[in-house]
């Protein structure tokens, strides 16, 4: 237990970095998801095709490869970006695709009857979307959205491979020094569990609040 107690401050700092990266990536990827989902549902053919291509690439290429491309290849194109910002952008771009699917699926899952009813009382499409469909869609989107957020948290662990001092990086460095993998990685796993548990609790809270609307 000794190496663990001594390493707690370091692990806490790593956890803070992971929390920050996750929060930023969740915000950006959600925004991207909403934006791209709207384009996929209502956009012109050109934009829809572009988004389809982006979704196809992100689904087929590992996040690690995208991170490497940002970290190693981008500097040769003259783009100067620090690892933290670059990492957040790449992770957001990657999970933005998952978010797009979540939101698009949620809107599509609302039965056409709702749309027809809205039109019957004279509402225009954007109004139907905002007042009638959105809340129902959000309720459907809730669980897969939280699942994707948890995937984002797990995805941030990959920045350890490009040298960012997140929880996984710190844990690995401590284990290399102390050779106590069970205590340290156990603590690391526990901290990730706590983060993801907090997220799912937040999700449940949001779900109950959304169902009050009706």
């Amino acid at each position: 237990m000794d190496p663990l107690v001594v390493s707690l401050p370091l692990l806490a700092r790593g956890a803070a970095t992971t929390a920050y990266l996750s929060a930023a990536a969740i915000v950006v990827s959600t925004a991207l998801g909403v934006f791209f989902a709207l384009i996929q549902l209502y956009g012109g053919l050109l934009f829809r095709t572009l988004i389809e291509a982006y979704l196809y690439v992100v689904r087929g290429v590992p996040l690690l490869v995208l991170l490497f491309a940002m970290y190693y290849a981008l500097p040769y194109a003259g783009v100067q970006i620090d690892s933290v910002t670059g990492g957040i952008l790449v992770i957001s771009a990657y999970f933005g695709a998952f978010m797009t699917e979540v939101f698009r699926g949620a809107v599509l899952s609302v039965s056409t009857g709702q749309w027809d009813a809205g039109r019957a009382i004279g509402l225009t499409t954007p109004r139907i979307l905002a007042d009638v469909v959105l809340k129902q869609a959000l309720r459907v989107a809730g669980p897969p959205f939280i699942n994707t957020c948890i995937m984002v948290v797990k995805g941030t662990s990959l920045v350890s491979i490009i040298g960012l001092a997140d929880l996984t990086y710190v844990g690995k460095a401590i284990v290399e020094r102390t050779l106590a993998p069970f205590e340290i990685f156990g603590a690391v796993a526990f901290l990730y569990l706590v983060l993801c548990f907090l997220l799912s609790q937040l999700g449940k809270r949001l779900e109950t609040r959304l169902s009050y609307v009706n």
């Binding site: 401050p9 370091l10 190693y72 100067q80 290399e176």
Partner: protein, 286 residues
């Protein structure tokens, strides 16, 4: 017909003007760029940004409190003090083994001080100063392998821990073709593998291995070197002569000139003995 001819002339004129304009503009900015050096930026910013590792003791590693320490770190402080007057005017950017090149080439860091050995193929992509410390490549083994030479180690029952760069892979193939190889990102991961027994040997810079052996009685360094004479140097983006000249002059002064006293102190602190001797024209004052 006449209309299209006129239209064609008009387009040609526009294209020519545009190309001329762009080249003058582009040429102008290119000229402007070669006039300023990264060194001016450093002085203006009043801070030196150094790319380094965090996993290569005793050159650049983190201690238990997470603070970045090491020989390279202290050298960076010395350089900052010489240039900007204050040894604390340094910011460190920790990078991975392959990440050190993009770090300086992209402009993220001014220079790199990361226990980096000079090789000709690396010199194609970055500019090196002269070496600030001699180095070599050695093999560290566990005492319980009862191995005393490279030849004895060259056996399929042993596993060697390597760093993930091509020079290491090539050397392993050349000197220890029969051993199994595990490849890691960092020297500390190599060391952890050896200490836990997953590997019985590791390949790394001689000063690093000497430090590990001095701090771990169950490990020892084999007498043969894989790379006999090598040097670790400061590296930076190529093409900036002003920056390179200053950095190289700095190294010269540290290893053989006005900063030799401070350099020796740092050297003795981390390696326990004196650096290669320099000419003394007088006794240093106390």
């Amino acid at each position: 017909m006449n209309g299209s001819l006129l239209g064609g002339l008009r387009i040609t004129a526009i294209v020519l003007l545009a190309t001329f304009g762009l080249t003058t503009l582009g040429g102008g900015t290119a000229l402007a760029q070669t006039a300023t050096s990264r060194l001016d930026e450093i002085v203006k910013r009043d801070k030196l940004i150094v790319a380094t590792f965090s996993t290569a003791p005793p050159f650049c590693y983190t201690d238990e409190t997470g603070k970045l320490v090491g020989f390279d770190i202290d050298i960076a402080h010395l350089i900052a003090k010489s240039l900007l007057g204050d040894e604390n005017k340094v910011e460190f950017v920790t990078v991975t083994s392959e990440g050190r090149w993009p770090a300086v080439n992209s402009g993220r860091a001014d220079i790199g001080l990361a226990t980096t050995t000079v090789y000709p193929d690396r010199a194609l992509r970055v500019a090196f100063t002269r070496p600030y410390i001699d180095s070599g490549i050695s093999i560290l083994v566990r005492q319980d392998t009862k191995v005393n030479s490279l030849a004895e180690l060259n056996d399929a029952k042993f596993t060697l821990a390597n760093l993930s760069n091509p020079q290491m892979a090539d050397r392993a193939k050349r000197f220890l073709p029969k051993v199994k190889v595990l490849t890691f990102d960092t020297p500390s991961a190599e060391f952890a593998a050896v200490k836990s027994g997953q590997a019985q040997a590791m390949q790394m810079d001689t000063p690093v291995l000497n430090w590990y052996a001095a701090n771990n009685k169950e490990l020892k360094v084999l007498p043969e070197n894989l790379g006999v004479i090598q040097g670790n140097a400061i590296f930076m983006k190529p093409g900036d002569f002003t920056l390179w000249l200053w950095a190289d002059t700095m190294v010269q002064e540290m290893t053989a000139g006005s900063r030799y006293a401070e350099y020796s102190d740092i050297y003795r602190k981390w390696f326990g003995h004196n650096p290669p001797p320099e000419r003394f024209y007088g006794q240093p004052g106390k």
